[in-house]
């Protein structure tokens, strides 16, 4: 076993345990500062991830159940970056959590390690373990404000529906294993083409798909998302929106295009339908929302729909799924900066306010131009308007889908629906912008922003702008990561050799 491959995960887990230990020697007033330490350490891990060499060809550990390739590395960096900002938010949020702030930090780190394992999952057991590591930590995280009723409600809903999705996943995995006799994605890709007619295999895969559908909040498994997003502590919501969703997508990509590409190709219609329904549901339901977090919850559903559009485009292109995959990753990268900026603003701006109604943001521009500008840019980026990251991401996704349209005309309709969704979304995103700039403020005091969070905001704004204006470097990275899917035949064989 090549343990050096999981060095990043080891670092994160050790850090999580260290935070728990350090808690014992830290005086209570200083405990919230542990978050800064953890964030700084994660920055180090992030920097270190660029010095891991030799991943151009995929490398396997644990009998092929763990893979380190450019795709995995891309997502690991993505999660690390997200966790750094989420930790900074958590520090800012600390006084709204009654007790156990250190546990809060370390749970975030454990969830992070789960996401990082998910990025490398190459067999069903790894998939399951990483999903559970993420989900179980989030059960606790979502209900962390224990005297705050909506938070408890969110935790309970997430627990019940999470358990349900776990049930689907396990049952599905059992069926797949029963039919094929293997858990390994590489081995599965060798034989799944021949077994594509077996109904039990299809049912099993469908159940796993449903389980992952819960994680990414795709229609019709999105029911939990608005309530949980609304009730959870804001840093947790942010991590759920960015990290958990991206983890779901990387697992989905691995499963659909590494393990069973031939079957996925037949599922294009299903993916098109799910994507269209998710886009419409998310956008239409977001219109009447008044609670900002709930609105962002629905908006995150719609963004899962746009990402699924990319997955559908990948499924339609049996020979060259890389174009869609690179678009998905680009979109996620833009989404990372955008959503984190939005939630960072919410955490600071709603600090002294009861409730999270859009009207509480009224006149934010007068109270803090930076917060208002960051939020406005985030909304414009989510709406997909140039020159921000969201636009270029959507541009790539639409391009990937239209590229396959001539072979798969349903994709044209899907793009049409996505366009309708975008126009609808402009309506509610601009509602937030209108509240911040147009309305008279409820209070006129200036809002102080802690220096580190201010830096995080500047970084997010820079990220949104750079991804929108200078796309080339990141496109290069995503294309290299996406190339994994074009090599999957050869890597699959390698995995079989290594694993069996």
């Amino acid at each position: 076993v090549n343990t050096s491959l999981i060095i990043l995960e080891i670092a994160v887990v050790v850090l999580a345990l260290a935070v728990l230990l350090l808690d014992l020697w830290t005086v209570p007033e200083r405990k919230r500062l542990l978050g800064y330490g953890a964030a700084a350490a994660l920055v180090l891990v992030f920097v270190f991830s660029f010095f891991i060499g030799g991943v151009d060809s995929p490398q396997y550990a644990f009998k092929g159940s763990y893979v380190l390739d450019p795709l995995a590395l891309f997502f690991k960096r993505f999660f690390l970056l997200a966790a750094v900002v989420v930790l900074l938010m958590a520090v800012e949020f600390a006084d709204r959590i009654e007790a156990g702030i250190t546990e809060f930090y370390s749970l975030i780190l454990f969830a992070l390690s789960g996401m990082m394992f998910a990025a490398s999952a190459n067999n069903f057991s790894m998939l399951f373990v990483s999903v559970e590591l993420i989900t179980v930590t989030f059960y606790v995280l979502t209900s962390f404000q224990r005297r705050h009723l909506p938070s408890l409600e969110a935790g309970l809903k997430y627990l019940v529906l999470g358990a349900l999705s776990t049930g689907f996943t396990v049952y599905g995995i059992a069926l797949v294993y029963g039919v094929t006799g293997t858990m390994n994605f590489g081995a599965l890709s060798e034989i799944s083409g021949d077994l594509a007619g077996k109904p039990l295999l299809l049912v099993g895969l469908l159940l796993v798909f449903i389980g992952l559908g819960f994680k990414i909040a795709a229609f019709p498994f999105q029911i939990w998302a608005p309530d949980v997003y609304q009730g959870s502590p804001a840093p947790v919501t942010a991590f759920l929106a960015v990290g958990s969703k991206a983890a779901g997508f990387v697992l989905l990509l691995r499963l659909l295009f590494d393990a069973v590409p031939q079957i996925t190709a037949q599922w294009t219609n299903l993916l098109v339908f799910v994507s269209a329904a998710t886009i419409l549901y998310g956008n239409l339901c977001a219109i009447p929302q008044r609670n900002v977090k709930r609105l962002l919850g629905y908006s995150s559903i719609s963004h899962a729909g746009y990402l699924l559009l990319g997955v559908a485009a990948m499924a339609a292109s049996a020979t060259n799924p890389a174009s869609g995959a690179s678009a998905i990753m680009y979109y996620l990268a833009g989404y990372l900066f955008t959503v984190l900026a939005a939630f960072a603003v919410l955490i600071v701006a709603l600090r002294h306010v009861e409730g999270e109604d859009i009207s509480t943001l009224a006149g934010l521009n007068q109270r803090s131009p930076l917060l208002a500008a960051a939020m406005a840019l985030a909304m414009i980026s989510l709406a997909g308007i140039p020159p921000l990251a969201g636009f270029f991401g959507k541009f790539l996704l639409f391009k990937a889908a239209l590229e396959q349209g001539s072979r798969f005309p349903a994709l044209y309709w899907l793009v049409g629906i996505a366009v309708v969704g975008v126009v609808i979304s402009i309506w509610y995103y601009f509602g937030i912008i209108r509240a911040m700039y147009w309305s008279t403020p409820a209070a006129s005091t200036a809002i102080p922003i802690p220096i580190l969070l201010r830096i995080a905001l500047y970084v997010s704004i820079a990220g949104m702008l750079l991804l929108g204006v200078m796309p080339e470097p990141v496109i290069k990275v995503t294309q290299r990561a996406a190339a994994v899917f074009n090599q999957q035949v050869t890597t699959g064989q390698a995995a079989v050799r290594d694993g069996l």
């Binding site: 414009i380 308007i385 140039p386 020159p387 636009f391 541009f395 790539l396 639409f398 391009k399 239209l402 590229e403 349209g405 793009v415 049409g416 366009v419 975008v422 126009v423 402009i426 309506w427 601009f430 912008i433 209108r434 700039y437 147009w438 796309p471 080339e472 496109i475 290069k476 294309q479």
Partner: protein, 505 residues
């Protein structure tokens, strides 16, 4: 040089971002300075443009996203050189009239410069991606400016309406543009318009693809230009917008849709154009007749101008639908002429609104006695709006009418009727009730424009007159490029026999 023109306003916007918020005078001077230098550069560019050559001049090309074929590629030929000049003129004029803004001036000027940079970029770009990108860059400030500094109780509704309509139009066009790009084989894909045009000239796009991509562009760009019946955002939007925004959008940014049709849709999809332009010809009559009729009923000067600007858009559409060199050239002349006219009339309306706080036409009377300059400018704007000879609109409309005569005779007749009769009715009626007649008590407090405030209006009127008296300044530049652009369009040379055959049922 072209890059200097497009980036100067954007750099100005960035510079304004670091100017402290309360340095109002500095913000205004910076904006005026930047737009003035841009204007000077654009005039130099226009004069140094090699008339008679169909080549693209002042080219600059930098690879931007080579992995998917996006280049920063700017250049002008006869088609957009006039539009770049127009954009620069109107930007400067818009900066001049913005003395009316009294709150958050710095932010307003920042957005104004951003918008003007976006517009210049959109017209100078020869890369499909950047064309779209710059256009959207100019659109977002438009929405924000209307929402924040707009006037009237309907401004929130107007902001949402204009945002939704224009975003929908832009997205439709974007889908069309991406589909166009994907029609090229994998390795050769690029967004570079020149290469794309050459490619499709030698390997025409398949009939099917043209059939469905062309309408995407036609309606997408059409919504941006307020093509009837997708025009409802325009009158209220312009009535609610701050003066400078209305001038820039109605005058220049709106023309982007027409420009896109001429630059991209026509030359790349001649077959699709042939199939769909019949629809366009009918819809453009909706603009000319229906919106003209609606304009006749308006009691508010701004709504009248908004509707009339929608009505005027019918002519360029007709010119495009005629597919003749004369018609398309006329459309381009009209784009420039109407840009100047729209900027002039919205500027004047803004001036009146600032002093009178209303634009109900019944509230004004006898302005000429009190305000000789503004009154005269209003009369001239009205004359230009009716298409009177001497103003730039006249040659444009005549060219469109002559160009469309052969193929679209009934439409041309209706259009001429609409333009001459209807617009004369509403324009002259407005002039009669506002400028002539007894001086109303309320109106006697409105001061005439002082020397500084005259500058933008004089500039716009001068440009209208110069191009009206000497249209060759534009047409000589347009003709060679238009010929190249349309050279491979399947134009039926109407022979008498063919015409007879067509007339038989």
């Amino acid at each position: 040089m072209l890059t200097a023109i497009t980036t100067l306003p954007l750099l100005g916007a960035i510079a304004l971002a670091v100017v402290p918020r309360n340095y109002r005078f500095l913000a205004r001077m910076l904006t005026l300075g930047v737009t003035f230098i841009t204007l000077a550069l654009a005039v130099i560019l226009f004069l140094r443009f090699d008339t008679g050559s169909p080549d693209i001049q002042f080219v600059q090309k930098i690879a931007w996203v080579p992995s998917i074929g996006i280049n920063y590629f700017v250049g002008v030929d006869g088609i957009n050189v006039g539009l770049v000049l127009l954009a620069a003129i109107v930007s400067f004029a818009a900066a001049c009239v913005s003395w009316e803004i009294r709150t958050n001036e710095r932010d307003f000027y920042l957005l104004l410069l951003l918008m003007s940079g976006g517009i210049l970029g959109a017209f100078a770009s020869l890369d499909i991606f950047f064309l779209f990108f710059f256009h959207e860059l100019a659109l977002v400030p438009t929405f924000i400016m209307i929402g924040l500094w707009g006037r009237g109780e309907n401004r929130n509704y107007a902001t949402f309406q204009i945002t939704l309509y224009l975003s929908a139009g832009a997205l439709l066009a974007l889908v069309g543009l991406i589909a166009l790009y994907l029609q090229m084989p994998g390795e050769q894909r690029t967004f570079d318009i020149v290469t794309v045009t050459e490619f499709f000239r030698s390997n025409p796009m398949s009939q099917d693809a043209q059939r469905w991509i062309f309408p995407l562009l036609m309606f997408g760009f059409g919504i941006l230009v307020s093509l009837w019946p997708f025009h409802t955002w325009a009158p209220l939007g312009y009535a609610s917008a701050p003066t400078a925004t209305a001038m820039l959008h109605a005058g220049v940014l709106k023309k982007f849709g027409l420009y896109g049709l001429i630059r991209i849709a026509l030359p790349l999809m001649p077959q699709g154009a042939k199939e769909w332009l019949g629809v366009l010809a009918v819809l453009c009559l909706g603009n000319i007749l229906h919106s003209g009729w609606v304009a006749m009923r308006q009691r508010d000067l701004n709504l009248l101008l908004g509707n009339s600007s929608v009505a005027h858009m019918g002519f360029p559409f007709l010119g495009i639908a005629s597919l003749s060199i004369l018609g398309v050239s006329g459309a381009i002349v009209l784009m420039v002429a109407h840009g100047l006219l729209a900027a002039l009339s919205f500027g004047l309306a803004g001036y009146l609104h600032n002093h009178a706080r209303t634009l109900e036409m019944s509230e004004f009377s006898g302005l000429l006695k009190r305000l000789p300059f503004i009154g005269t400018a209003l009369i001239m704007a009205a004359f230009a709006g009716c298409g009177l000879p001497g103003f730039a609109n006249f040659p444009g409309e005549i060219m469109v009418l002559f160009g469309s005569w052969k193929q679209l005779q009934p439409y041309a007749v209706a259009a001429a009727w609409g333009a001459l009769i209807i617009s004369a009715i509403y324009m002259l009626r407005a002039v009669r009730s506002m400028v002539h007649g007894p001086l109303l008590e309320k109106c006697s407090v409105i001061p005439d424009a002082n020397t500084w405030r005259k500058v933008p209006f004089i500039l716009l009127i001068a440009a209208l007159l110069i191009l009206g008296i000497w249209p060759r300044l534009l047409t000589d530049k347009i003709r060679p490029s238009a010929e190249v652009l349309l050279s491979h369009l399947p134009r039926q040379q109407p022979t008498p026999a063919a015409e007879l055959a067509e007339m038989k049922p």
